[in-house]
């Protein structure tokens, strides 16, 4: 079941497209809880601390209502990507100074990792997020399948 396949960075169990949150803290906590529940992260407090450490170093709201909080953490045991869509706009430090409603929370282990396969997959997702066409599709995705199609196919 835990086979590493090319698409394994996409896990529907850590995707929630119907989040009722009002603040950045609530969204990060909600997605971090999913990561803990599904075995990606061991210690939610240590993990969110590391996320906020990265937040303090620079903006992760990349514009177009999308945020990509991330950071390396020793609390991460499995590389993953939690994806959330909130029902209302969330204030977030962004390059275009607009709030966000789509959040990609990267979980990356804090070690000289031999987990290059997964880092490569995350880099591929990031590359796609630099593409306006993909962003449009991501924003229009109504369910997990459409999101998957926009990001990984």
């Amino acid at each position: 079941m835990n086979e590493v396949t090319v698409k394994s960075v996409f896990d529907p169990k850590i995707v929630d497209l119907n989040i009722n949150a009002k603040t950045k803290d609530e969204v990060i906590k909600h997605l971090a809880e999913l990561l803990v529940k599904e075995g990606y992260v061991t210690d939610i407090n240590a993990y969110t601390e590391d996320i906020y450490h990265r937040e303090s170093q620079g903006i992760t709201g990349m514009g177009d209502n999308i945020a990509i909080p991330h950071g390396k953490s020793s609390a991460v045991v499995k590389t993953g990507l939690a994806i959330g869509k909130t029902n209302q706009m969330i204030p977030w430090e962004s390059y275009d100074e607009k709030p966000v409603n789509i959040i990609f929370l990267f979980a990356v282990a804090d070690k000289k990792s031999d987990d290059k396969t997964h880092l490569r997959l995350l880099a591929d997702v990031a590359t796609r997020l630099g593409n306006e066409e993909t962003l449009k599709q991501v924003k229009q995705a109504k369910d997990v399948m459409e999101l998957h199609r926009a990001l990984f196919l």
């Binding site: 990265r54 170093q57 620079g58 903006i59 992760t60 990349m62 514009g63 990509i68 991330h70 950071g71 390396k72 390059y95 275009d96 990267f106 990356v108 990792s113 290059k116 880092l119 490569r120 995350l122 880099a123 591929d124 990031a126 590359t127 796609r128 997020l129 630099g130 593409n131 306006e132």
Partner: protein, 104 residues
């Protein structure tokens, strides 16, 4: 013109790769050739060769961490924070065009 460059961000997970995509798209849309080396958590990828560097008109360093610039000795180098590429990739390419024109 021929633009080469490097993207590198603090964590080396996301911005490095997003910025590469954005700046490549912008450069191509404005009629330039471009090759970007990423220095992220995976290690250097799409590495610039001596030949790439020799042929390049300008070197763009969009980096928030220190990178080795000795390879680009004698080249015209434009160094900017990666946030500029994230905010306005076309603006960055435009600025490079302006700089190159005034340099002639």
């Amino acid at each position: 013109m021929k633009i080469i460059g490097i993207t590198a961000c603090v964590a080396g997970i996301a911005h490095t790769y997003i910025a590469k995509e954005k700046i490549e798209k912008a450069a191509i849309s404005m009629g330039d050739e471009i090759k970007i080396e990423t220095q992220g958590s995976i290690g250097p990828e799409n590495v610039l060769t001596a030949e790439d560097i020799k042929k390049a008109d300008v070197v763009l360093l969009a980096t928030d961490i220190g990178v080795d610039k000795s390879r680009f000795k004698g080249k015209k180098v434009v160094a900017i924070p990666i946030s500029l590429v994230m905010k306005s990739p076309k603006g960055v390419i435009k600025k490079i065009h302006e700089k190159m024109e005034t340099a002639l």
